[in-house]
């Protein structure tokens, strides 16, 4: 099962294993990792699953959709070049070991 590391805004680090195909948003909410809310249930409709993806994994991710791009303009914490929505990133063997940082606020 692919591993994902979440680094909270205060620096706390958690690594979890996700069933293949589950999203980074689900990995956080289902493992009690605060700092990701996921209000819309993963339909790319709320921008409360905002993450900053570690540069080393940037080119391993599938490109973002137009909707994700638009939604990322609505994040609470500033959007950066490495901003993505956690519900749009699926855990796959290609991104095993991925590291994401969580923003200060989601809503």
């Amino acid at each position: 099962m692919p591993k994902v590391t979440y680094i909270s805004h205060d620096g706390a680090e958690r690594q979890v294993e996700l069933p293949a195909g589950w999203t980074l948003m689900q990995g956080a909410t289902l493992n009690g990792i605060d700092g990701i809310e996921g209000e819309c249930g993963g339909s790319c409709g709320c921008a409360t699953c905002h993450v900053y993806v570690d540069e080393r994994f940037a080119d391993k991710l599938a490109p973002m959709s137009e909707v994700e791009d638009e939604m990322l303009d609505c994040t609470e914490s500033p959007r950066e070049a490495n901003s993505r929505l956690g519900c749009q990133i699926k855990a796959t063997p290609e991104i095993d070991g991925i590291i994401v940082r969580l923003p200060e606020a989601q809503s």
């Binding site: 195909g21 996921g38 249930g41 137009e66 909707v67």
Partner: protein, 387 residues
């Protein structure tokens, strides 16, 4: 032999013991009565929701699908078309875009509470929750005020199924046909006289320079009215029931109304109103030793996943401090409910007002009349004693 019959009135009233048997003994079960497979464990449902390529909605998502919806609405198309359609509406229904509905919702709640002044008991569903819901949806879609009650009655009827024939009865189909015609008329008037509302924007929208298909517009708007009205008032009925049955929780909310959103999330988990939806397999699958074929339907029992002890500790306890993140009350994945922010704001506002007026209440009937439906679970009537 264990059976799972989503048409049985016993199931409408209390599906939870059946779900437990499913989860523990038959996690991938063929239901003869439904003519489809049933997933009941949280993890299996989430896996299916994440994989729309395998679990398609394009053959319909209602357990008993209504005519002409498959392939033509948000809930019944697959990406990429689905995502394009959804993007047209999504922005108008995010939390930030919906501040404007709070005041109208509050005024509506107050008006209907005022009308109850002096009553010792009343029906929460018909005198309060459905009235507030209809007011709100009519405001949101800017629909003509006359005929509110009829629209609501039809929305409730069209989601029902006949427990004996295990099908939609003629009156259910008639209610649906009525709603389709109602939507068609609405679209015609809106085309002549466009406004700033969500429906006008959807009607005028284009994808890649092409107008949406007429059937798409008509069916999506029919579904928005149905989903908005029936789902929201049904859920509020369930939440009213939970607060009647759990005095401690209710008193905690009265003391601190900021807890209402937590109670709402726990109600969505504990007494899920949208119990079951379906998907269609696009390829053969083997799950828990069962061989399923492309073209088979799979029922996703959200109400069961939400009570799965593999995911939620003490799942049969209603605990408003639980904060059940990841619950399936709104489904999940690409098809997760479009109306989550509307529903959350409406519920919060309605219950703030209701609990201020009635901090103490209890239910009058022990046996409730449940909506006969293979999809939804909510009381048709909830008589509350308040005095």
């Amino acid at each position: 032999m264990f059976r799972f019959d989503p048409y049985s009135p016993v199931m409408d009233a209390d599906p939870f013991p059946f779900y437990k048997t499913l989860r523990d003994e038959y996690p991938c079960f063929w239901s003869e009565e439904a003519g489809m497979w049933v997933y009941s464990r949280y993890a299996d449902i989430v896996t299916a929701l994440n994989d729309w390529e395998t679990y398609s909605s394009a053959k319909g998502n209602l357990v008993d699908e209504l005519p002409n919806r498959a392939g033509s609405t948000l809930g019944t198309t697959d990406p990429p078309r689905h995502d394009r359609l959804r993007a047209l509406i999504q922005k108008a229904v995010t939390k930030r875009a919906l501040d404007h509905i709070i005041e109208p919702a509050r005024q509506s709640a107050r008006k209907h509470l005022d009308a109850l002044a002096g009553e010792k008991s009343f029906d929460f569903v018909n005198a309060f929750s459905s009235k507030v819901t209809v007011d709100l949806l009519f405001y949101l879609f800017d629909m003509p005020a006359e005929g509110q009650q009829t629209v609501r009655d039809k929305a409730v009827l069209m989601v029902q199924t006949d427990p004996k024939t295990r099908k939609k009865a003629p009156e259910h189909i008639a209610a649906y046909d009525w709603m389709v015609d109602y939507a068609a008329e609405l679209i015609e008037t809106r085309k002549k006289n466009p406004g700033q509302d969500l429906l006008s924007n959807f009607i005028a929208a284009e994808i890649d320079g092409e107008k949406l298909h007429d059937r798409e517009v008509q069916m999506t708007i029919t579904t928005l009215i149905m989903a908005g009205i029936e789902s929201l008032s049904g859920f509020m009925g369930v939440m009213g029931l939970n607060l009647a049955d759990h005095g401690d929780a209710r008193r905690a909310l009265v003391a601190d109304p900021a807890l209402i959103p937590d109670a709402m999330e726990e109600s969505l988990r504990y007494n899920t109103s949208a119990q079951r939806f379906r998907r269609c397999l696009t390829k053969d699958q083997e799950v828990h030793g069962q061989q399923m074929k492309a073209g088979d339907f799979v029922m996703l029992a959200y109400g069961s996943g939400n009570r799965d002890e593999r995911q939620f500790e003490n799942p049969d306890v209603y605990d408003i401090a639980r904060k059940p993140r990841g619950h399936l009350g709104f489904g999940g994945g690409v098809h997760a409910c479009l109306g989550t922010a509307i529903a959350r704001l409406a519920c919060k506002t309605a219950f703030e007002e209701f609990l201020t007026r009635y901090p103490e209440f209890e239910r009058v009937e022990q046996q409730l009349p449940w909506v006969p439906s293979s999809n939804f679970r909510s009381p048709m009537r909830l008589e509350l004693a308040v005095g």
